[in-house]
């Protein structure tokens, strides 16, 4: 039943739901990669999942979320080392439904140039829109895309910050539908806050986004942190649902990148190399459910 999915997507780990959304004894049905998956937690707390036609699928529980792989896992679930540091707090933001390709969500997350316009006076100001040059690399050993030495002027970079700062960022694409960033922590400039975006691609052009924040922020309440992230993400959703086409084009001339889009260019190249088609314009013919491309 999963044979028509390309290995790069079929054999990767994808988020299913938050751990907290699945109580002991509970079961729920979710859509993943155009399939119905039932995920359950038994009385002892163990999570399992299966395709509705019967086959069991591999699951992992980590980072406050439940993950599944519909094929044979090509690698262990990506490691987020900061989860081992016990002075951090985790806030999960739950599922936000977005009518767009999950790959478009990843690209939006990697993008600093939109801060002054979409997150005006929160993550950027219109007077300081410049994106200084940063570095980008595809790390072959771990098969991840990294953007380093990213800097951007921010008026209020996190729930805990009252004034502006030059924020420093590292971006990490850990899977086709999993991305995180490491950002100067306002409370302790020698360390980084971690913000992640895990995407459950339900259909090629329909996604559920699970954002999490792993912070050193002692002052802000979890509610305040979640609320800040949700404000940001709802602003992004307006853009994401109104990009045309809704699927991500991998053809180099389909859109017009500039230097600030180096991370998006590298991400698209990486997807193409891996043979990712789900959620792309090029994969449209292979997956019947997507809407037409204008």
């Amino acid at each position: 039943m999963t044979r028509d999915l390309e290995p790069a997507v079929r054999d990767a780990w994808h988020v299913l739901c938050r751990s907290a959304d699945l109580a002991p004894g509970a079961a729920t049905r979710l859509r993943l990669l155009s399939r119905d998956v039932e995920v359950a937690r038994n009385a002892a707390g163990t999570v399992s999942a299966r395709l509705l036609d019967g086959e069991a699928v591999a699951t992992r529980e980590a980072y406050g979320h439940v993950f599944a792989c519909l094929g044979t896992p090509a690698a262990p679930l990506f490691d987020i080392a900061e989860f081992a540091e016990d002075d951090r707090r985790l806030a999960t933001c739950g599922a936000v439904r977005v009518r767009a390709s999950g790959l478009r969500l990843v690209e939006n997350f990697l993008d600093m140039a939109h801060f002054p316009f979409v997150h005006t006076d929160l993550l950027g100001v219109e007077e300081r829109p410049e994106v200084p040059r940063y570095d980008i690399e595809i790390r072959r050993d771990v098969d991840e895309v990294w953007a380093t030495n990213c800097r951007f002027w921010q008026p209020r970079a996190a729930a805990s910050s009252a004034e502006g700062q030059m924020s420093e960022y590292l971006y990490r694409v850990a899977g086709p539908f999993a991305v995180m960033l490491y950002k100067t922590c306002p409370a302790d400039p020698s360390r980084f806050d971690v913000i992640g975006l895990l995407i459950r691609p339900a259909e090629p052009d329909l996604s559920y986004a699970y954002a999490f924040v792993l912070v050193l922020d002692e002052a802000s309440s979890e509610t305040a942190i979640v609320h800040f992230q949700q404000t940001i993400f709802l602003q992004d959703r307006i853009v994401l649902e109104n990009q045309r086409p809704r699927l991500l084009p991998l053809a180099p001339n389909a859109e017009t990148p500039t230097r600030a889009d180096m991370s998006s260019v590298a991400y698209r190249r990486w997807l193409k190399e891996k043979g990712v088609r789900y959620g792309t314009v090029e994969g449209l013919a292979g997956h019947g459910e997507a809407e037409g491309v204008p």
Partner: protein, 208 residues
């Protein structure tokens, strides 16, 4: 392709400094007017990352994309890329443009090159009333109004002389731009008459 003129709206609904989405024959377009009043029709898709430009805003003589603030001039060319303030955008960086004209309170557009002939004239004594959405394809609406191939048709309705411009939106929907003839007629009562006409078209045109 060399399409004829199609009505896409009433001039009064597109004041200076406004950008509005338009769907014509299934194509997503944006009509916008500079601060000085120049009307333009672009593809509703920013060449940068595909954002619909109708979500953007007009600043002076440019249309600014909501996503990353790229500025598009009335000639379709990119004027500025905020992420790179030092960069002069290349001349080749343009949004596709379409022909747009105004005549007698109506806005007309043509996909493709734009015809040589001007759009149809409207009588001097018309006043714009409103745009009505109809859940039927334009050819069904045209047939119901006896318009034939014409986009503009005059119709007597409850004693009012209505001028109706038919816009094909997509395969299932159309818009009716309504103008009223005669200086003495009451626009509010005429609007009621137009609304009744719309309901009759929908009733008669609905597939059984």
């Amino acid at each position: 392709m060399r399409g004829g003129w199609c009505p896409i709206g009433l001039s009064q609904d597109l004041p200076a400094g406004i950008a509005a989405p338009v769907i014509l024959d299934g194509r997503e377009l944006v009509a916008w007017r500079t601060g000085e009043g120049v009307l333009r029709l672009f593809e509703d898709r920013c060449p940068h990352r595909g954002m619909r430009l109708s979500f953007g805003f007009v600043r002076g003589d440019a249309l600014v994309c909501l996503y990353h603030g790229w500025r598009w001039g009335a000639d379709g060319g990119c004027r500025a890329i905020p992420a790179h303030p030092e960069l002069t955008p290349p001349k080749s960086l343009v949004v596709p443009r379409f022909a747009v004209r105004e005549a007698g309170g109506l806005v007309w557009a043509a996909l493709g090159d734009g015809p040589d002939d001007p759009p149809p004239e409207t009588p001097a004594d018309v006043r714009p009333l409103a745009t009505l959405a109809i859940d039927l394809p334009a050819d069904v609406v045209s047939a119901a109004l006896g318009a034939g191939e014409e986009r503009l048709v005059e119709k007597e309705e409850a004693g009012f002389a209505l001028l109706l411009a038919i816009q094909p939106v997509d395969a299932r929907r159309s818009s009716l731009h309504v103008l009223l003839r005669g200086a003495d007629a009451s626009p509010l009562a005429a609007l009621d008459a137009a609304e009744a006409l719309r309901m009759r078209i929908e009733r008669e045109g609905a597939p059984a």
